[in-house]
């Protein structure tokens, strides 16, 4: 359990660092906000007067977009039908829609960044704030029309890339084990093996007990899936940069997987603990609902934890980068870059930590479900 102590101290350190950073940011943004609010009226006044003087000049002034950090950050955090590469270049991704009429597949390039509508087989579609909406006959968005979006979005594509890398890495490592039977690990194998052994000896064995072997594939897959997606999320350029593990849908699926595994493998003691707990019978009306909520709340906490940690990390990094554009000066860049570097290193730790915590808690819940009471 010394591992847990280390973890606790690490978590404390992370909390301290986070607090300091947020304090720093709040001061910075606060001062900036004041400056901003002071600037905007002047700006708009200038613009208006300029417009009054000359229409053309005014148009130019309007062409210079105002930088909105919240919008930019949210765009980066959220999912998208395009994979932005650089400048104005984006990779169009396939759109797959399940509509009333049937399945519809086309390229998201047809939307031209939301500037054009696309006329499909069954409906006309419009991309609005990266959501695909059906356009009615009157040229307005038809909110009533139900359309299920199964598109290969940026997150899905990034996840596929991560999965491909995982498969390549682990199948090649497995090959190395077949080739070098009984010999010491070498190369990638020697980098991966300690992690696998860590998952086995420090996560699975102490929490699940002697039945651990059955759950090893799930625990290892969960660990490496989260870890690889976390790390890919930290890479700012293609094929990284997507906020895959910071998306609630992905963490929802992962947590759902844990919930299903735990409840399928729950033995009679587990269910007895829920429906016939060791309390006086008149407490049952309270205890049974509490235990039933517990079934949901445990994976729910898993879902929120992973989502919040990764999203928060992305938001902080993007906020720091945004400082450069908010201040509109290059002088702030070294500060920003230094902080971003620091945050990236921290996020690397968090990437491992969150994969570890998710797997550890999954193992813990499984352990509670399969534990034998004597």
């Amino acid at each position: 359990m010394d591992c847990n102590q280390v973890l606790v101290s690490k978590v404390k350190k992370v909390i301290v660092v986070f607090t300091l950073l947020i304090a720093f940011l709040s001061i910075k943004i606060d001062t900036f906000a004041q400056v901003d609010s002071a600037v905007i009226p002047v700006d708009s006044v200038v613009a208006e007067s300029a417009e009054a003087v000359s229409g053309q000049h005014g148009a130019v002034e309007h062409g210079k977009e105002k930088f909105e950090p919240t919008k930019v950050i949210m765009e980066h955090i959220a999912d998208s039908h395009m994979w932005h590469l650089w400048g104005h270049t984006s990779l169009p991704l396939p759109v797959i829609l399940y509509t009333n009429g049937g399945l519809e597949v086309f390229s998201s390039g047809n939307f031209h960044h939301g500037e054009h509508d696309y006329v499909g087989k069954y409906n006309t579609y419009r991309l609005e704030e990266d959501h695909i909406k059906v356009v009615g006959a009157d040229g307005k968005i038809d909110e009533e029309a139900s359309v299920l979006d199964f598109s290969i979005t940026k997150n899905v594509a990034a996840m596929f890339v991560a999965i491909l890398v995982i498969l390549i890495v682990f199948i090649s490592v497995a090959g190395a084990y077949k080739k070098r039977v009984g010999k010491s690990p070498k190369g990638l194998q020697s980098f991966i093996e300690p992690i696998i052994i860590f998952v086995r000896d420090d996560i699975a064995k102490p929490n699940i007990g002697h039945k651990y072997a059955k759950f090893m594939p799930y625990l290892l897959t969960t660990f490496f899936f989260i870890l690889f997606n976390n790390i890919f999320g930290l890479i700012p350029i293609f094929p990284g940069g997507a906020n895959v593990t910071g998306n609630i849908a992905l963490t929802f699926v992962m947590a759902l997987g844990t919930m299903i595994i735990v409840n399928i493998n729950g033995n009679k003691y587990y269910w007895k603990h829920i429906f016939k707990p060791d309390v006086p019978f008149w407490l049952y009306p309270i205890m049974i609902p509490v235990e039933l909520i517990g079934i949901i709340s445990k994976p729910f906490a898993l879902m929120i934890r992973l989502f919040a940690n990764i999203t928060a990390g992305h938001i902080i990094v993007l906020s720091l980068i945004s400082l450069i554009f908010i201040f509109e000066t290059l002088a702030i860049a070294p500060v920003s870059v230094a902080f971003v570097l620091f945050m990236d290193v921290l996020e690397l730790l968090v990437a491992f930590l969150q994969a570890f915590i998710f797997t550890l808690l999954t193992a813990l819940f499984i352990g509670m479900a399969v534990e034998e009471h004597h």
Partner: protein, 164 residues
């Protein structure tokens, strides 16, 4: 709110992809990797156990050797001691025997001497008797020229014989 609303598409693709990944990795990665690690750990454990056993065997053998050496040394000492006592015994015996033999020889020599002495004495006696007989003869020859004297002598001799 958009941020915390799971989209159906991503849920679907994540489920599908994760299940595929789980199945693929389970078959092609985890099974061989975990199997190989387990096997290697077992072989390492076995090797360590064997080494431990060998060490114990070695220690046992060394102890045995030590024991044997000790025994051999003790035996040698015993043998030496025995040999010494034996030697001492033999020497003593020999001395005693020599003494006995010597005394026997001396005894024998004494007896011999005694015998020789006796024999010599007997011879001397014999010679003395012969000599005395000769002397007596000569004396008698000279004296027995007359008859009376002869008779007196015989009578005298007879007397002597009777005395003897």
């Amino acid at each position: 709110m958009d941020l915390v609303t799971p989209s159906i598409g991503l849920v679907f693709w994540t489920s599908l992809a994760f299940i595929c990944l789980l199945i693929l990795l389970r078959k092609f990665a985890w099974k061989p990797i975990l199997g190989a690690i387990h096997e290697r750990e077992q072989s390492i454990d076995e090797a360590l156990n064997k080494a431990e056993l060998a060490k114990q065997e070695m220690a046992r053998l060394t102890a045995q050797n030590q024991d044997l050496m000790q025994q051999a040394r003790a035996e040698r000492d015993e043998i030496l001691k025995e040999a010494k006592t034996l030697k001492d015994g033999i020497l003593n015996e020999a001395k005693k025997q020599a003494q006995v033999e010597g005394s026997k020889l001396i005894e024998k020599a004494k007896i011999e001497i005694e015998n020789q002495k006796k024999a010599a004495l007997a011879e001397v006696k014999d010679q003395v008797s012969t000599l005395s007989l000769e002397i007596a003869e000569r004396v008698l020859r000279t004296q027995l020229d007359d008859k009376s004297k002869q008779e007196a002598l015989v009578a005298n001799l007879l007397k002597d014989v009777e005395l003897n």
